[in-house]
């Protein structure tokens, strides 16, 4: 216990050290005396943009203090709404989470019952396997034109893309988990004349739950990766749109802030699923 604690403490100290080194590198790299990129190119670009090179410099990679200001600014007013192109970061994030949540929930509703069916029936498994094998490796964004054409709604298309990308790991893991429920447990249910519903909910579901949740966790990870790209395409709202919009504004500070935020939210989502996984995992 004691040595484990000291290991955690030492790891934490090392993490802080690495952070300090990274911030140090950042600080040195963005010092005003050494502007990033060739000065000639910068000047030309600045002229094109109708700005002086001195102002343009502040729009490049930010210094640590500029970054800090931005973080404080965004976090102190996360939910303001000044029209379509100026919304608080909290609102953007909420839009993204709502899309991911919607698409993901639809995928759960389809993948888990279908996965059950595939796992229970070798016939259905073999019949659907070629479709799954072909559809699975398709990049979810490749579906976007079809989605936009058929659904004719960009918000719904975003949800569809999330649906189509998060369905596969869940479907495959559910089928695998259900198919590999130990025969002895099924035999116990058979000798006890357990009804199909009770067998599904009291034996197969808990037995396969750890595998199913692993699939759900992978799906959530993929959904969170894909939402940023999807929102860059469909535009309007969301954290992905925010990143693209700030790139068009040439505000790398905001882009970096959004990147950090995407990472933190992704980590929190993953932690939540890890916790759920821990709850349903059984030990023998």
């Amino acid at each position: 216990m004691n040595s484990k604690l000291s290991l955690n403490v030492r790891a934490g100290l090392l993490s802080l050290l690495i952070l300090a080194v990274l911030l140090g590198i950042w600080h040195v790299a963005t010092m005003p005396a050494a502007p990033a990129g060739g000065p000639v190119a910068n000047d030309e670009y600045a002229k094109l943009m109708g700005k002086s090179s001195a102002v343009a410099k502040s729009d490049g990679l930010p210094t640590l203090s500029q970054m800090g200001e931005t973080v404080v600014k965004h976090l102190s007013a996360p939910f303001y709404d000044n029209g379509p192109n100026d919304k608080g970061i909290g609102i953007q994030l909420a839009h993204s989470l709502a899309r991911v949540g919607g698409g993901y929930l639809l995928a759960v509703l389809v993948a888990i019952p279908l996965g059950f069916l595939i796992g229970m029936s070798p016939l259905v498994y073999r019949a659907l396997d070629p479709f799954i094998q072909v559809l699975k490796p398709i990049s979810p964004l490749a579906w976007m034109p079809i989605a936009l054409y058929t659904i004719k709604d960009s918000a719904a298309s975003g949800i569809f893309v999330i649906f189509i990308c998060s369905i596969w790991p869940m479907l495959i893991n559910t089928a695998f988990g259900v198919a590999s429920v130990r025969k002895e447990w099924l035999n116990v249910s058979r000798t006890l004349e357990v009804s199909p519903w009770r067998k599904a909910f009291e034996v197969i579901l808990p037995a396969a739950a750890p595998t199913i949740l692993t699939g759900m966790r992978i799906s959530m990870g993929i959904a969170w990766l894909v939402i940023v790209a999807a929102e860059m395409l469909v535009g309007g709202t969301g954290i992905g749109y925010f990143v693209w919009n700030e790139w068009n504004n040439l505000s790398l500070t905001n882009v970096i802030f959004a990147i950090l935020l995407i990472g933190v939210v992704g980590m929190l989502l993953d932690l939540a699923f890890a916790q759920a996984q821990r709850i349903v995992t059984w030990r023998e």
Binding site: R182, E184, V188, R190, T191, L192, E193, P206, A209, W282
Partner: protein
């Protein structure tokens, strides 16, 4: 015992697998006939690969035999059912349920109309019966191997089946734990007058528990070689067992069969059903006082037949990897 008053009747059971390529179809066992009276405890002994587990699964209704029928209480066994409780080889507890959860899963299946309180009370009674009172809310992962097997036994008993089927229930336990649970099983079975069919590899266990012991010859083409009637007093215990001279006669008969005769019968050197009779021969070696005394040297301090089985496998490599 005549076939008419038999509680369980097994007729002409055979298990064959279709031929692989040009070879002959593989017959695991054939011509298996026996019956069990109500309240009787029957053990079946034979080497790995003779189809003991298949026979038990057929009795449980979990497997269909290639040929033959099983009748219980006058009706044919067509599938698994609540009137037969099964204790599986590997305990088969659901690891996500507590001890109480595992037992109540069975009880709720048997009596779906019961209230939650009544189910729990019933379960607690049977958990206490196997000596696990106080462990109701533990998960199987928190229990030792012996305790898990007790939960399996409690689960099978709790549905109050007409017949209990035990597939080598103590195979994975250490000798000490096994002895304790055997004593408990004897106690419970005598108290409840349960009809039991049990697979075992342990000769001493069979003599302690069984009223009759079914001996299977080696597989493939295994069959029932003979049925040994256990003539030891019914109130025998692990403590008194080995003081009875009958014990060694029965034990030597069984060990002699497993080491030597089970193979000869398979090879056709000895035909137990030479007399053209229906059903296997029943013998009572315990009462046979003319048996030569030097045979007692076969009995070693260990009752396990597993080493003997390995010895037999050397001379017969074809069956050394035979699965259960």
């Amino acid at each position: 015992m005549s076939a008419a008053d038999a509680f369980l009747r097994v007729e002409g059971l055979a298990q064959r697998f279709p031929a692989q390529g040009r070879g002959e179809p593989l017959t695991v066992f054939e011509g298996v006939d026996f019956s069990i009276a109500k309240g009787e405890f029957v053990c079946i002994i034979g080497h790995s690969g003779c189809g003991k587990t298949t026979i038990l699964n057929v009795l449980a209704g979990l497997e269909k035999p290639t040929e033959g029928f099983v009748f219980m209480d006058g009706r044919e066994v067509a599938g698994p059912g609540l009137e037969r409780g099964v204790v599986f080889q590997g305990h088969a507890l659901m690891p996500w349920m507590t001890v109480l959860g595992n037992v109540s899963f069975a009880v709720r299946s048997r009596w779906p109309e019961w209230s939650r309180a009544k189910v729990e009370e019933h379960c607690r009674k049977f958990i206490a019966m196997v000596g696990l009172a106080g462990a109701e809310h533990k998960k199987p992962s928190q229990l030792s191997g012996g305790m898990k097997q007790r939960v399996g036994i409690a689960r099978a008993f709790a549905i109050e089946p007409k017949m209990l089927l035990l597939d080598e229930p103590f195979g994975a336990l250490d000798a000490l734990t096994r002895g304790v649970i055997q004593d408990e099983l004897v106690k419970i079975c005598r108290a409840t007058q349960q009809t039991v069919f049990m697979i075992t590899h342990d000769v001493d266990e069979a003599i302690l528990l069984a009223d009759r012991i079914v001996l299977m010859s080696n597989g493939p083409r295994a069959r029932i070689a003979e049925i040994v009637r256990n003539t030891l007093p019914p109130d025998r215990t692990r403590l008194t067992l080995h003081h009875d001279p009958q014990f060694y006669r029965i034990r030597n008969h069984l060990v002699d069969f497993l080491v030597h005769r089970s193979k000869l019968i398979q090879q056709g050197a000895v035909d137990p059903s030479a007399g053209e009779r229906r059903g296997p021969i029943e013998v009572s070696p315990g009462l046979d006082e003319t048996e030569p005394s030097e045979q007692t040297t076969v009995a070693s301090s260990s009752a396990e037949i597993l080493p003997l089985q390995r010895r037999a496998a050397v001379s017969q490599p074809r069956f050394s990897t035979g699965a259960h």
